[in-house]
Every structure is written in structure tokens, then in C-alpha cells.
């Protein structure tokens, strides 16, 4: 018990420190998120998103290491938990690049898929979606969507 009281202040100090770090990291993430709203440059957005992901991993580290106490466990336990999670590196790389490649393939070989990405629709309106179209509502909407189509054609020509 005496050993515990000796550690008491150290533990409380560590909890305070980690709380502050987590709050600061979250605030930085939110500032970046707000800042990103006004930015249109794709490269810049990607850079900010990368920074946010790094901050997210830092937060995860602090939660697991200090709040879940993993840093103070034996190396045997740390390795048992952390090494299998390394599989995620491969999962993320493989699946995201697969998704990206699927999009490129469809944009190259599926004209309908590519066309969908160029047709603008009106915001804040009941839009006939791919799945909605199956529903009974679609009949009532037909007239509406025809009008919308001509509108979208107009915007398309404007864009060109």
C-alpha cells in the first residue's frame, strides 16, 4: 500500500498530462477541420487530411499507452497486442488501392458510371436516387425528374 501512495502523485500528474495532450490534439484537429472548409485546392486538402490522420494516430497512441496502461505493461503483453495490429497496415494499403483502382477501371470502361459523375442535381430537394427509383414513389416523380434532367443538361452545357 505504501508503494501505491508513493506513486499516487506521479499517476495523477500523468493523467493530467495525457488529458491536456488529448484535448490539445482534438482542438488542433478541429481547427484544421474548420480551416479545410474554405479550401478548394485538392493538394492542400489532401495535406490537411494527412495531418489529421497523423494527429488521430497520436491520440490513439496516448489513449492506448497511458489510459489503457499498455505502456506500463510487460513487453510480452505489449508485443502480443501490437504486433497483430500491424496487419492493418496491409489491410488499409491493399483495400484502399483496390477501391481506387476499381474507380479508375469504371471511369475508363463504364460510360454510365462516368456520366453519373458529371450530371449535377439540385441541392436540398428530393432527388430520385438509384435505390429510390425502385420504390413506388418513382412514378410520381417522373415528371419532376424530367424537368430536372433538362435543367441539368442546361447546367452541363454552361459548364462546357
Amino acid at each position: 500500500m505504501s508503494e501505491n501512495t508513493h506513486d499516487h502523485h506521479d499517476v495523477i500528474a500523468e493523467i493530467k498530462k495525457v488529458t491536456i495532450i488529448l484535448s490539445v490534439l482534438t482542438i488542433i484537429e478541429l481547427i484544421l477541420g474548420f480551416w479545410m472548409i474554405g479550401i478548394t485546392s485538392e493538394g492542400m486538402r489532401l495535406a490537411i487530411k494527412g495531418t489529421i490522420v497523423i494527429l488521430m494516430l497520436a491520440k490513439a497512441f496516448y489513449i492506448v499507452a497511458y489510459f489503457m496502461h499498455l505502456k506500463h505493461e510487460l513487453k510480452n503483453l505489449i508485443m502480443t497486442i501490437v504486433v497483430p495490429l500491424a496487419l492493418f497496415i496491409w489491410f488499409i494499403t491493399a483495400f484502399l488501392s483496390d477501391g481506387n483502382s476499381f474507380r479508375n477501371l469504371r471511369n475508363t470502361y463504364d460510360p454510365h458510371f462516368k456520366e453519373q459523375a458529371t450530371i449535377k442535381v439540385e441541392a436540398k430537394e428530393e432527388v430520385a436516387h438509384a435505390t429510390d427509383a425502385k420504390e413506388s414513389k418513382s412514378d410520381a416523380k417522373e415528371g419532376k425528374s424530367e424537368a430536372k434532367e433538362s435543367k441539368s443538361e442546361a447546367t452541363e452545357t454552361k459548364k462546357d
Binding site: 488529448l22 489510459f67 503483453l77
Partner: protein, 228 residues
């Protein structure tokens, strides 16, 4: 040869039997294994979301979708505000959980009870926020298979966005709900002196691990859905 073995046994005597090579209680190791498997479940969900997002040309802008908060008017445009409150609620409840675990190690029953109550309040507050958000989105016409939002580039969106959002935040919310139930059970066990009789508060530590994991998952869910 014998010299070498004695030297190496000093290094690796954790595996020589007679004691746990992890030097933690059995239940805690099992909790870690469970959390690892749960991490793969959430990871699979989030990676599926990422893959679908990468394979789609457009995607709704989260700042246009999540821009309201309770008691706000129709035309409110306050992106990230409500979700940052939710995030801080969960971080604070995680901190009170650490304090409860620490109080348990000190055999301080009062401290455990006080911090467990704060943790439970935090969990319920988070669930209420999520319930409001789901309700709000549902009123806007969003649900599984229904997506009233358009892509950020103005093209029609698929229902993938809402499907993944409701599935993953729902799965996380269900974990929060289980965590709150577990914490309430822990509180009752503390109040009825069960841990005092056992002589240790290890159950609080295990509940704590689960609760921190819920917070950890929210860090990823929050980033993937609201920020990226």
C-alpha cells in the same frame, strides 16, 4: 553451454513457467484479446467504408451534412460544433474512468464511486447526443437506404454514405450502451462492497479497458466521418 543458459534464463524467465508471462491477471489478458478482436471488427467496417469511398467519384461533404445542433433553427450552419462536444464528452468520461481505476488501486471506495458516476453520466450524455443526431438526420430524410444529401461536387450521391454512417456510428453507439451498462454494474458492485470483500478492484480495471476502447474507436470514427 550452461553459462549461456543461465544468462538467457535471466532474460527470458517469464516463459519458464510458474508465473504468468504477462504478469497481469487472466481476465485482463482476455479483455485485451477481446478488444483486439473488436479492433479488427471496427477496422473492417472502417476499411470497407474507405474502400467504397475510394471507388466512388463523388462523396457528400460532411460539413454540409452535420451542421446543426439541438435547439438550433432550420437554417443553422455550424459544422463540427456538435460533434466536437460529443468528442469532448467521451474524452472527459475516459479521464474520469482512469481516475476511477486509480482510486480502485488505492482501495479508495469513495473515489471509485464518485468517478464511476461521472463516467456513467458522460456515457449517457454521449448516447443522448447521438440519439439526437440520428433523430435529426432521420427527419432530414437520411436512413439506411435513404440519402437526401448530394455529393460535394453537386452530383447525385448513392446511399453508401448513409448506410456506412448509420452502421458504423450505430455499432459504436451500441458499444457505448454496453459500456454504460457494464459501468452501472461495476458501480452497483462497488456500492455493495463486493470489491472490498475481494480485496481488489481489478474488475474496475477491466471495465476501464473496455471504456477506453470505446473512446479509442470514437477517435477513428469521428475522424473518418466528420473530418476527412
Amino acid at each position: 553451454m550452461s553459462n549461456v543458459t543461465t544468462a538467457s534464463t535471466k532474460e527470458a524467465k517469464w516463459w519458464n513457467g510458474g508465473k504468468s508471462p504477462f504478469d497481469v491477471e487472466y481476465g485482463k489478458v482476455m479483455m485485451w484479446y477481446f478488444l483486439m478482436s473488436d479492433a479488427f471488427t471496427f477496422g473492417a467496417f472502417l476499411i470497407a467504408y474507405g474502400t467504397v469511398r475510394f471507388s466512388t467519384n463523388g462523396w457528400p461533404n460532411p460539413n454540409e451534412v452535420f451542421k446543426s445542433y439541438p435547439f438550433a433553427g432550420e437554417g443553422t450552419n455550424a459544422p463540427l460544433v456538435f460533434v466536437s462536444i460529443m468528442t469532448f464528452i467521451l474524452i472527459v468520461s475516459s479521464v474520469t474512468m482512469v481516475l476511477a481505476v486509480h482510486a480502485g488501486k488505492m482501495m479508495d471506495k469513495k473515489g471509485v464511486v464518485r468517478n464511476m458516476i461521472w463516467t456513467i453520466i458522460g456515457g449517457i450524455a454521449f448516447l443522448s447526443c447521438q440519439a439526437w443526431e440520428w433523430n435529426h438526420l432521420h427527419h432530414e430524410g437520411a436512413w439506411w437506404g435513404m440519402n437526401p444529401f448530394i455529393n460535394s461536387d453537386g452530383t447525385a450521391s448513392t446511399t453508401n454514405f448513409t448506410n456506412f454512417f448509420f452502421t458504423i456510428t450505430g455499432f459504436h453507439g451500441f458499444h457505448v450502451l454496453s459500456g454504460v451498462v457494464i459501468n452501472i454494474i461495476m458501480l452497483i458492485m462497488t456500492l455493495t462492497n463486493q470489491f472490498e470483500k475481494r480485496g481488489h478492484y481489478l474488475m474496475i480495471e477491466k471495465a476501464g479497458l473496455y471504456w477506453h476502447f470505446v473512446d479509442l474507436v470514437w477517435v477513428f470514427v469521428f475522424t473518418c466521418f466528420y473530418l476527412l
